[in-house]
């Protein structure tokens, strides 16, 4: 066997490359089709780039005095995110329990619950806010409602997945000693899921702070309102103060929340 000439050895067939080529072809097709559809052109970007640099130049330095003026709006943004997350997290609990297939074993219950969750998660938060603004008028209320609904989708989905992956030992033990369903949930499920749940709520809060910062663009309260106001009057130094302020607050809250989450899990 060892003395056979090289070409007589039994090499395994190399795997077919057809699939790879096909994938690459489809991706290229998608790429160019989208580029055409969106009128993407490098030359536009190159031509327009000086405009953007000009804009960025006008943004520097930020108007430091403006910070004081937008502080109430920033606090309002944080309040909106807090309330939205809280309400959403509370409403998410029963929905998450209903969606977990190891709690509710009946297909007819957990499947519709998940379906509703999926639908909720398909609608972007800013769209929800725009719709609520046209229902309730301008203000923080539509913003809070939009964040609430958005949080329900996120928290409930993450939580039901956590519930489905819990250890079944304690649950079996409780069933064996004759616990009823409520006791079963309170003493078997919740202690196992609680750290995950709190961690997901904190994570949702981080996401909501970011979302709340731009909700004002559609009139749903918070600091986003000032983007329109300053950009409309070409006061770009004020716009950059808003951006900077938002960045600082978001990074700070992210930092605190991440530390808390690390402690939890």
């Amino acid at each position: 066997m060892m003395n056979l000439p090289l070409e007589k050895r039994n090499y395994p067939e190399p795997p077919s490359k057809l699939k790879t080529y096909l994938t690459v072809f489809i991706l290229l097709l998608l790429f160019f089709a989208s580029a055409m559809k969106t009128n993407a052109s490098i030359s536009d970007l190159v031509v327009g780039f000086p405009n953007m640099l000009e804009l960025l130049k006008q943004m520097i330095p930020p108007n430091w005095l403006y910070f004081e003026k937008i502080l109430p709006a920033m606090l309002e943004t944080i309040r909106m995110a807090l309330l939205g997350t809280t309400f959403g997290a509370i409403i998410a609990i029963p929905i998450a329990l209903f969606s977990a297939n190891n709690i509710v074993k009946n297909y007819f219950f957990y499947y519709p619950a998940r379906f509703i969750l999926n639908i909720i998660r398909t609608v972007p938060d800013l769209l929800l806010a725009a719709i609520f603004v046209s229902i309730f008028g301008l203000g923080t209320l539509p913003g809070i409602l939009a964040l609430t609904i958005f949080s329900i989708g996120l928290v409930a989905k993450l939580t039901y997945e956590a519930i489905e992956s819990i250890d079944t030992g304690p649950l079996e033990a409780m069933t064996a000693v004759g616990a009823n369903k409520i006791q079963w949930i309170f003493y078997g499920v919740i202690p196992q899921v609680l750290p995950h749940y709190i961690s997901y709520v904190l994570y949702t809060f981080e996401v909501n702070i970011r979302a709340a910062a731009v909700l004002g663009l559609v009139g749903a309260g918070g600091i986003g309102l000032y983007y329109d106001r300053t950009l409309g009057f070409f006061e770009y130094d004020k716009t950059s103060s808003i951006i900077l302020f938002t960045l600082v607050v978001v990074l700070l809250i992210d930092y605190i929340s991440t530390k808390l989450r690390e402690k939890l899990l």
Partner: protein, 267 residues
């Protein structure tokens, strides 16, 4: 040695800690609720929400396809194109950043930390604000949306890619180093094959997010389905709002299903 009576006692520190947390939360919520104006609900609220619901269940089907353009299908296609191109751009642009931020690829902690900080900076910059800036550069339209999504997604994709690179098996890379391969060869033959499935899966995941984002970019004039939706909302054309919402829900659901299926196949 009776094991049954040994009960673990609760540490005292834990109780004090819990007390502090409860007080802090209480103060936080008092602050939150005290600052909220009790907004009066408009009397028309019920009427309008009824109209929107009626619109959703009784949508303006004629809007799905109009021969002269500006219809639902074209809006959705535009949104999809923005998401696809934006994802492509960010998936390529983020690779150098990912290698920069990955702890096992960069030399020294300083390089890794600056790379990670840059990525998180990009991540915190809201895409809608980026879109406003790009509109100033290339004018309103889909291309501004593409650029905004492309730039914003670098933040998250770069972070996920870097984590993927950090979790590779160092064996193949070491073996290649031992045979005298250049750095580029090591990346091409040892690292990329290992991280490729992860990269693709994260890119698809980001694509799902980008489809949702592309749907809202139109609110500020950066193309996609958001623009007709805002027009319909402001002209109180609830049937049209209904069909657009329905269109977005169907599109996002289909994309999620498809992308989820492919991701399962890849990993």
């Amino acid at each position: 040695m009776n094991k049954a009576v040994i009960t673990p006692f609760k540490p005292r520190k834990n109780r004090i800690q819990r007390f502090i947390i409860v007080i802090a939360l209480l103060l936080l919520y008092i602050w939150t609720f005290s600052g909220m104006p009790i907004a009066g609900v408009k009397e028309t609220a019920g009427q309008i929400s009824k109209a929107i619901f009626a619109g959703i269940f009784n949508p303006d089907w004629d809007y799905v396809y109009l021969p002269d353009g500006e219809d639902l299908l074209r809006g959705l296609l535009d949104t999809l194109a923005i998401a696809i191109l934006g994802t492509f751009i960010s998936a390529f642009l983020c690779i150098p950043f990912a290698f920069w931020a990955a702890a096992n690829m960069s030399s020294g902690k300083a390089a890794t930390n600056t790379g990670k900080f840059m990525l998180s900076f990009v991540r915190t910059f809201p895409e809608i604000v980026m879109a406003i800036l790009f509109i100033k550069a290339v004018g309103p339209g889909s291309f501004a949306g593409v650029l905004a999504l492309g730039l914003h997604s670098i933040g998250m994709l770069g972070k996920l890619f870097a984590e993927e690179i950090e979790s590779i098996d160092p064996g193949p890379a070491e073996a290649l180093t031992a045979t005298g391969a250049t750095r580029l060869q090591i990346i091409w033959f040892a690292i990329l094959p290992q991280v490729m499935p992860g990269f693709l899966s994260y890119t698809l995941y980001r694509f799902e997010i980008n489809v949702r984002s592309a749907a809202i970019l139109g609110i500020i004039g950066a193309g996609g389905i958001g623009t007709p939706l805002i027009f319909a909302l402001s002209s109180r054309d609830w049937d049209r709002v209904g069909i657009i919402l329905l269109g977005i829900i169907v599109m996002v659901t289909l994309i999620d299903l498809l992308s989820g299926y492919i991701r399962k196949r890849i990993v």
